[in-house]
Amino acid sequence: MIWTNPLAWLGLAAIAVPLLVHLLSRQTSRAVPFPTLRFLRATPVVNLRRRRVSDIPLLLVRAAIVALAVAALAQPHLTISSAPDANHIAIIDTSASVARNSSRLIFPGSETATRMITIERKDLRGALAEAATWLRAHPGRNTVLVVSDFRRGTLDAARFATLPAETGISLLRVPTLTEPPARISGVSSWSIEGLRTRATWGGAEDAPDIEVAARAGDAAIAAAIKAAALATAPAATGQLRPVTFVMPASPQRATLLASSSPANEPWMFALFAAMDARRVESVRVVDGRATVFLESDDPATAAAAIGEAIPALALGPPVQELEPMMIPDEELRRLERAPQPPSVAERPSVWMGRWFWITALLLLAVEGLMRRTRAPASEAHAHAA
């Protein structure tokens, strides 16, 4: 039995009411018309003033009525099953970047699961919404496993917030699909000669110094940026000037822009000046790091912007860090959580309050009968002439 409104038990203090009624009601005598007093012998008044509870059965019934009402208000629930269901929902990212054999993984804890449900979708957000709908209809000790390579922008804490609070979250990273390197035409002509480092993008006949495994899209651009920046890093200086390039479609763009402040370092101004205004919206500071907000998502434009930026940075300290392509493991660990037992309201249970009310009503009827049958002569003999 579980009480979902235990504060109602404070109402048990109301039992004092019938007790007081029984105590106080005996302190005053009632005038009872009676045929003759010749057979009645007076008893000492002191006995009448002694406080004692009379008619204990009636008092007990009244106290029971109060107690039952209080218990009903405390919302009693009788749980039908002591062990709630343990459902596992595996959401498998089927986007092209994820290794094809991910769906054949054996998930931890799946052998003890009541039900194992697999959702295979390219759209992780949609899959999470689908899982949330199912979980709300099936409360239990549930867990959601997400199998993905966790590219940035695919998931965040807000998406997981749609799941029931007690649902466990387990995130399993799988390797990114290794595909033949894609050629990015916009970067193929890019060459940084001043640093004696040659980053060649494009045709295989150019024997590139850096080969980037990437596919089309902003992630590929980000990978290219990182690779290019690392390639241009002068090994000798050791001075860090990290720069982040933010594409217009980046999911963090609005957040970064909101938390940014104007550029405040001369080299940042130099960086901005070295870049074509058509490619760069602004250069601002986010968490002490220069952040370049690009104008276009077009890879060629982005590559050109990076191409302009790197020489400017090469004059000074190297670029050390760029926006990562994947959600870091630390962030994934923060998102994970263990499953909790469902709240009482969601557990399969029977509300027992109605039976308490019914019993209280029955006792109320019994109390009425007792009052009638035990009605002192004062009432049975009431003289209303």
Binding site: S29, R38, R41
Partner: protein, 308 residues
Amino acid sequence: MSLDPAVVAAIEDLEFAARRIVESARTGLHRSPLHGFNAEFHQYRAYRPGDDLRHLDWKLLARTDRLYTRQFRETTSLDAVVVLDASASMDFPGPNGRGKPAVSKFRYAVAIGAALAWLISSQGDAVGLVSAAGSDVVVPPRRGRAHLRALLARMAKLTPSGSAGIAGLTRRAADLLRKRGALLVISDFYDDEDAARREMAHAVRRGHDVTMLQTVAPQEIQLDARGAVRFADLETGAEITLDADAARLDYRAALAAFLERTRALAGAHGIDYRLAQTSTPPDDLLRHYLLRRGSLPMAAAASAKAGR
């Protein structure tokens, strides 16, 4: 099926209630033991099987060796007076306004008295009424349906009040009977016991057939009040405060002793006595009363006298 006392008490038409009680009580009775005993010899006729052997003329049988049955003609019948106690103590228990209405001793006594009056009158006997409700109510015994209706109407208008004075009422009733008759005293007898005993004995000595129907209510016998109670005497208004739980046993013993004294008084003077509890169906009470009267010495004596 017996009549519900509460139902009978609730019937406004007293004549109807009386007739209903009597008709119900008569079930199983072959003749009324209250029938008049002042009969005179009319004629002889040949004995037929089934005739009452008490009416067989044994002397004639001895002389003639033939069986003859004596037949009588009732010239006068019973004069009876119903003495109805309308003191305030009879108005108990009063209505409590809840559930089944309580039958007061007075309403019960009125129903019984009306039934007896109806029974007596329907047999051609004279019936009267003596009571006291504020002022004395005296209806001399007469015969006839019109008289009965007037008597019942008078009875229906009675409202209990004041003190009993059952002794005085008995004397008034005895005085109303110019010849030997029947006194039917319906009361709780909460009165001066000595005076009541004196008047009852006096009535018996005058040759009247006295019946005492002592009316009590179950609530009165049980004293089911609880806790501290201030009892108020219905007649005198005096009050006494006591713990009903503590006083109950003594009260019951005292009341039982009083009832026993009253019964003993009746037995000592040859008075027909019956305890009339208001919970007893009135027709049952009347039936048992009439059946018992059939075996009373007085009834046998009356029959013997009629046969002389």
